[in-house]
Amino acid sequence: MIRAAQTLKAMIDAGIMMDFPDEWNDRITALNNGQICTLPYPAWYNIVMKDSVADQSGLWAYAPMPAFEGTSGNVSLGGSVAAISASTKYPKTAKAFVEFSLMNANQADILYGQSQFEAYKPYYDAECYKEVDAYFGVAIGETFARWVDSPKIDFGYYFTDVADALATAIGEIFINGTDPAQALSAANEAAQRAIDSY
């Protein structure tokens, strides 16, 4: 994490990174103004680009994420999760329902219509995933199906507390110029305090 933070900081200092205080809207504005040449963002963003930056059709391509040697740059960002309450009286039924509704091709058909990239792996062999997209010139489904070997991350019970502490650390590193090791260990302490209080 420290190496990644240092690399990103170097990119910021070199002036090649763009800052988005209002993340979503600023990104779309920047795209429309032609200020972005590389956008590290997930598969489902293609529908937003087709909506908001329609006139740039044919100018964009997909590339694999950069990574340090020996690691793969692929990660999972976004998407939705189904959660079953711990106090439910029918955990098996709930689980069966999730499997019934989400682990089949029908729901993938619906999601494909919304340009969502599927988490249900057997669907990657479907015909629609091989269709070549007009905007990007490649079959989006096929392209991303190659890059789904992201490391399994266990977010744990205390995801929001840790994410909160990390967001503060990132702000400290990039805006206040704090040493990454120091900022990250402070974040570690803060998250630990929150977790201990549960």
């Binding site: 205080p21 209002d22 920047a30 929001t160 305090r193 929150a194 209080s197």
Partner: protein, 315 residues
């Protein structure tokens, strides 16, 4: 001369001279007597469900942990967590700093505007008062978003004007003190009109003769302002300041929408901190404890403000 208790005028066959309304009331049937309570019932039900119950329940939550609809008692652990959390003290510091700057600026501005609007020969008074008051009528969410757009670094109108005048755009939402400034500007823009209208009505209660007497004695306008207007408005000023202080201590919407807690928690306010703890981390015990600490702070400050201003009157 004492004429006896006031007699209702309705008269008719239900009253005679020596009966009071209470006696008449008690003589009516149970049905008739219950009518007032029935009229009050909707509000009482609403009050208990949405106000009394949450207040009591959250007091209970302060002393335990609430997870998966089950409650475990943990004593004052939540309070000690909040009172030893550096983030809470950062939020406290931010809130107080913004309050200490914003409230005097806003009150002074409102006072000046109210005095100007009170000028006798002013043309178009109605329209000006409406224009001054209109920001108050806007809903908090829209104006926060629009202010966020104004102060955008790349494309915001404020930076565009600065660049037009030859300067460099400022990183409004990326630097701590600039982000606080943006918030103070936004809130002042919104609430000055409200305070102006309150002070305007206070100003109209100050008798004209005082000003005439003062100008006869040779006092200039500024002297009149400080010698007549400000003391005459004392109660109204106290009221406006207490309201503003309370409003600033409970600030949430503007920082949440404009800065999201600011660059590195620089514009994190107390209520935002509580929101994070309660609805992001789902730790309702800590959030309730924090909100009761906030209640105590507000109560202490309000008491202090009233006490300090009462002491003056005792002289």
């Amino acid at each position: 001369m004492w004429m006896g208790p006031p007699q209702p005028v309705c008269g008719g066959p239900f009253l005679d001279d020596r009966q009071s309304l209470t006696e008449v009331f008690m003589r009516r049937s149970i049905y008739h007597r219950s009518v007032p309570y029935l009229f009050l019932l909707p509000f009482i039900a609403f009050f208990f469900v949405f106000m009394a119950y949450p207040i009591v329940f959250s007091l209970m939550l302060c002393f335990g942990k609430y997870k998966s609809a089950s409650f475990t008692f943990t004593g004052i652990g939540n309070f000690s967590f909040v009172l030893s959390d550096p983030l809470f003290f950062k939020a406290l510091f931010n809130t107080f700093l913004m309050m200490v700057i914003q409230v005097p600026v806003q009150t002074a501005l409102a006072l000046i505007l109210a005095s100007l609007l009170n000028v006798k020969k002013l043309k178009g008074k109605g329209i000006m008062r409406m224009v001054v008051f209109m920001p108050v009528l806007l809903d908090a969410v829209s104006y926060s978003i629009v202010f966020g757009m104004f102060f955008n670094y790349e494309n915001g109108i404020v930076n565009n004007v600065i660049r037009l005048l030859g300067g460099d755009g400022l990183q409004w939402l990326n630097l701590g003190w600039l982000a606080k400034t943006v918030l103070i500007i936004a809130i002042t823009w919104r609430w000055t009109g409200y305070n102006t209208v309150i002070m305007l009505s206070g100003l109209q209660n100050i008798p004209e003769d005082l000003y005439e007497a003062a100008s006869i004695d040779g006092a200039g306008r500024i002297r009149q302002f400080f010698a007549i207007t400000v003391p005459g408005l004392k109660q109204v000023l106290i009221f406006a300041v207490i309201l503003s202080v309370n409003g600033m201590l409970q600030l949430f919407t503007e920082p949440y929408l404009l800065t999201g807690g600011g660059p590195v928690n620089e514009t994190l306010t107390i209520v935002q901190y509580l929101y994070k703890k309660g609805f992001k981390s789902f730790d309702f015990g800590v959030a309730s404890a924090g909100s009761y600490i906030l209640v105590l702070i507000i109560a202490a400050l309000t008491f202090l403000q009233i006490k300090v201003t009462k002491e003056d009157k005792g002289r």
